[in-house]
C-alpha cells in the first residue's frame, strides 16, 4: 500500500513542489498557514486543476502529466475529510453515509452503514439530520461517510480544528483508533505539532510549498535538519553557533561553550534545544553544560509553567533589563520544588538534547 506523490503546481505566492511517498502508516503534513498544505491535499484528491507531475496510488496512476493521465476525483478512490465536515445538509446521517454506496445492493448498503456507524461510535444517529448534531458527531459522520466507500487512501484536512478542546481530544482518539484499523495511506494536514506527533509515525514539514523535512517523527523532533524545521516543530531556543571541536560549539548569543552529543561533521550555524528539555540541577553539580541563570519572567498554563531565563554571563552586572536567552517549560509540581531556592539557578543543557543546524 503506497501513495506516491511528485507534483508541482503554481500558486499566486510560490510554487508548490512536493515529492514524497506515504506507506500504510499515517503521515502528518505540518506547516504554517499558507504553506500549501491544503492545496497539496486537494491536488492529491483531484479537486484542484493545474497540478503537474505524477501521483500514483498502489501503482495506479492518478496523475501523470507526461503520459497525459488525469483521473477525475470520483475515480481516484481517495476519501477526504474537511475541516468543516461538509455533510450534505439535506440528507440524514444514514443517507449521507450511503451516498457513495449507490451501486451496492440494499442489504450490503445496510451492512456497510451499520459497520461504519459502529466503528465511529454513532450507531444511534442514523436518522438525524446534520444540523441536529454536535460538531464532534458531525465529524464522526464525515469520517464514517469517507470510510464507507473503502477508499484506498484517506486525506484529512485539519479535521479537528473546528472542534472545541473536549470534542477535539475525543475525536483525536477516534482518529487514532481509525488509523490503527485502516492500515492504508493516510495524510493528516495540521498545524498543531502535538496532534501531528500523537497521530502519525511520519511527518512532512511543508514550508512555502517545499518539503522542508520528511521522515520519522522522532528523528525530526530530535534533530531538525534546519532552523526552519526546528521552528516549525515548536523549538523555542536558538543561538548562533560556531564549531570549536568535534563535539563542542560556541553559542554566540548565549555566550557559552556547549558540548553536544551530535558529531559536528558538517557546517554549523545555529544550535538549539527544546524548552521542555532544559533541566534544573543543584548548585555545584559536576556535569557538563551547567550554567547559572536568573528568572526574567514566567507564564503559566494550567499544568505547566514557562520560565524565561537569562544566563549569568558576568556576575555582579546589574541595573539593565536582562535579555531573555532561553525559555524552559516545566511541570508545576517540579517547579514547586525549586521556585524558592535562591537565584541563580543552575540550568543544564544536556548534550544529547542539543542539536546543531547548518543554516
Amino acid at each position: 500500500m503506497s501513495l506516491e506523490v511528485q507534483i508541482e503546481k503554481k500558486l499566486p505566492e510560490f510554487t508548490l513542489d512536493v515529492s514524497f511517498t506515504a506507506d500504510s502508516t499515517p503521515l502528518s503534513i505540518l506547516g504554517p498557514s499558507g504553506a500549501g498544505k491544503t492545496m497539496l491535499l486537494r491536488s492529491i484528491a483531484g479537486l484542484e486543476r493545474g497540478a503537474r507531475g505524477r501521483i500514483a496510488l498502489n501503482g495506479r496512476a492518478l496523475l501523470d502529466t507526461e503520459n497525459r493521465v488525469l483521473v477525475p476525483a470520483r475515480s481516484r478512490r481517495i476519501g477526504i475529510l474537511f475541516q468543516q465536515f461538509a455533510l450534505f445538509p439535506h440528507r440524514t446521517v444514514a443517507e449521507n453515509i450511503c451516498f457513495g454506496l449507490q451501486k451496492l445492493p440494499r442489504d450490503q448498503q445496510a451492512r456497510r452503514l451499520a459497520d461504519v456507524l459502529e466503528r465511529t461510535h454513532i450507531s444511534g444517529l442514523g436518522e438525524r439530520y446534520p444540523r441536529q448534531l454536535s460538531g464532534g458527531e458531525q465529524q464522526r459522520v464525515a469520517l464514517a461517510r469517507a470510510l464507507a466507500v473503502e477508499p484506498e487512501a484517506l486525506l484529512l484536512d485539519e479535521p479537528l480544528s473546528a472542534l472545541d478542546s473536549h470534542l477535539r481530544s475525543q475525536m483525536e482518539m477516534q482518529l487514532q483508533e481509525t488509523f490503527l484499523a485502516y492500515r492504508r495511506p493516510a495524510l493528516l494536514v495540521t498545524h498543531n505539532i502535538e496532534e501531528a506527533y500523537r497521530l502519525s509515525e511520519q511527518i512532512l514539514v511543508l514550508s512555502r510549498g517545499r518539503v522542508a523535512a520528511l521522515g520519522a517523527k522522532d528523528a525530526i523532533f530530535r534533530r531538525p535538519g534546519s532552523l526552519e524545521v526546528a521552528r516549525l516543530t515548536g523549538c523555542k531556543n536558538f543561538s548562533r553557533a560556531r564549531a570549536i571541536s568535534e563535539h563542542v560549539v560556541e553559542a554566540l548569543d548565549w555566550g557559552c561553550q556547549l558540548r553536544v552529543a551530535q558529531s559536528l561533521a558538517g557546517p554549523v550555524a545555529h544550535v538549539g534545544i527544546r524548552a521542555h528539555q532544559l533541566d534544573f540541577v543543584e548548585a555545584g553539580t559536576e556535569q557538563e553544560n551547567v550554567f547559572p541563570c536568573r528568572l526574567v519572567r514566567s507564564a503559566e498554563t494550567p499544568f505547566r509553567i514557562t520560565l524565561y531565563l537569562c544566563l549569568d554571563r558576568a556576575p555582579g552586572e546589574s541595573g539593565e533589563i536582562p535579555r531573555v536567552d532561553l525559555q524552559a517549560e516545566v511541570f508545576k509540581e517540579k517547579w514547586q520544588r525549586f521556585r524558592d531556592q535562591p537565584l541563580p539557578w543552575h540550568l543544564r543543557l544536556a548534550p544529547e538534547s542539543l542539536f546543531v543546524m547548518p543554516d
Partner: protein, 241 residues
C-alpha cells in the same frame, strides 16, 4: 327595487354569455411556459456555471436581453424569426407547422420573456451552494450528473423555486410580445391581458373590470401560496431544528 348581487351577476351573464377561454388560455400558456423556462433556464445556468471566459459576457447579455428590451421589440424579433420568411419559420413550414398566430406562439412569447428571470435566479441559487458539498460528493465517487441531481439542485432548490414563481408571474402578465407573435384570436391566443386590452378598446368596461379582477385574484393566490410555502412550509425538513 334593488337586485341582490347574485341576481345582478346572473343578469349580466345572461345578457352576454361569459367567455371563459382567456382564463384557460392564460393558465395553460403560463404553466407550459414556466415548465419550458424552468428546464431551459436551469440548463443554461448549469452550463454557464461551468464555463468562464470573455465570450461569457456575450452569452449573459443575450440571456438577459428579453428582460431589458420592451416586450414589443422581443415580439417583433420573434415575428422575424418565426415568420414565413424567418429562418425558424421556414424550417417549421417545411415540417408543415406554422407558429405565428397559433397557441404555441403564446407559449414561445411568454417563455422567452420569462427566461431571464429563471436564468438569473437559478444561477444565483446554484452559485450559493457551498462547493465543498460538491467536492465531497465527487470524492465519494459521484458522477457530475449525480452531483447535480443529488446535491447541487436539492440545495439550490428554494432559490430555483423562487425563480420558477417569478417566471410564472411574468408569463401570466405577458402582453406585448404575445400580441406581436400570437395576435388576438379569441378562444385560441387571447390571454387575459389581451382580452382586457381589447375589451377596453371595445368600450366593454364591465368585461375589462372582470378580467382585471380575475388577474388580481390569480396574482394574490400566487403570492399567498408563495408566502405560505416559504414561511410556513417552505423550510425543508432538514433545515428545521
Amino acid at each position: 327595487m334593488p337586485m341582490a348581487p347574485t341576481a345582478l351577476a346572473a343578469q349580466i351573464a345572461f345578457d352576454t354569455p361569459m367567455d371563459w377561454s382567456p382564463l384557460w388560455i392564460s393558465l395553460e400558456t403560463s404553466f407550459t411556459a414556466t415548465l419550458v423556462t424552468l428546464v431551459a433556464g436551469l440548463a443554461a445556468a448549469v452550463w454557464r456555471e461551468r464555463h468562464t471566459g470573455p465570450a461569457m459576457a456575450f452569452v449573459d447579455g443575450i440571456c438577459l436581453l428579453p428582460l431589458v428590451l420592451p416586450p414589443t421589440v422581443v415580439g417583433f424579433f420573434l415575428l422575424l424569426l418565426f415568420g414565413h420568411n424567418g429562418p425558424l419559420g421556414k424550417l417549421l413550414l417545411r415540417l408543415g407547422a406554422t407558429v405565428v398566430f397559433s397557441w404555441p406562439a403564446t407559449v414561445i412569447a411568454a417563455s422567452v420573456v420569462a427566461f431571464p428571470l429563471m436564468y438569473l435566479t437559478a444561477r444565483a441559487a446554484l452559485e450559493q451552494v457551498d462547493s465543498r458539498y460538491l467536492e465531497a460528493a465527487r470524492t465519494l465517487g459521484a458522477s457530475e450528473w449525480r452531483v447535480f441531481w443529488g446535491v447541487a439542485l436539492p440545495l439550490a432548490w428554494p432559490g430555483v423555486l423562487a425563480g420558477t414563481i417569478l417566471a410564472f408571474a411574468r408569463a401570466l402578465g405577458e402582453f406585448g410580445a404575445t400580441l406581436m407573435l400570437a395576435g388576438n384570436i379569441p378562444g385560441k391566443t387571447a390571454t387575459i391581458p389581451i382580452a382586457i386590452y381589447f375589451a377596453v378598446e371595445a368600450d366593454d368596461v364591465q368585461r375589462a373590470v372582470g378580467w382585471c379582477l380575475a388577474d388580481v385574484a390569480i396574482s394574490l393566490a400566487l403570492l399567498g401560496g408563495l408566502y405560505y410555502w416559504t414561511h410556513a412550509h417552505g423550510r425543508a425538513r432538514w433545515d428545521r431544528h
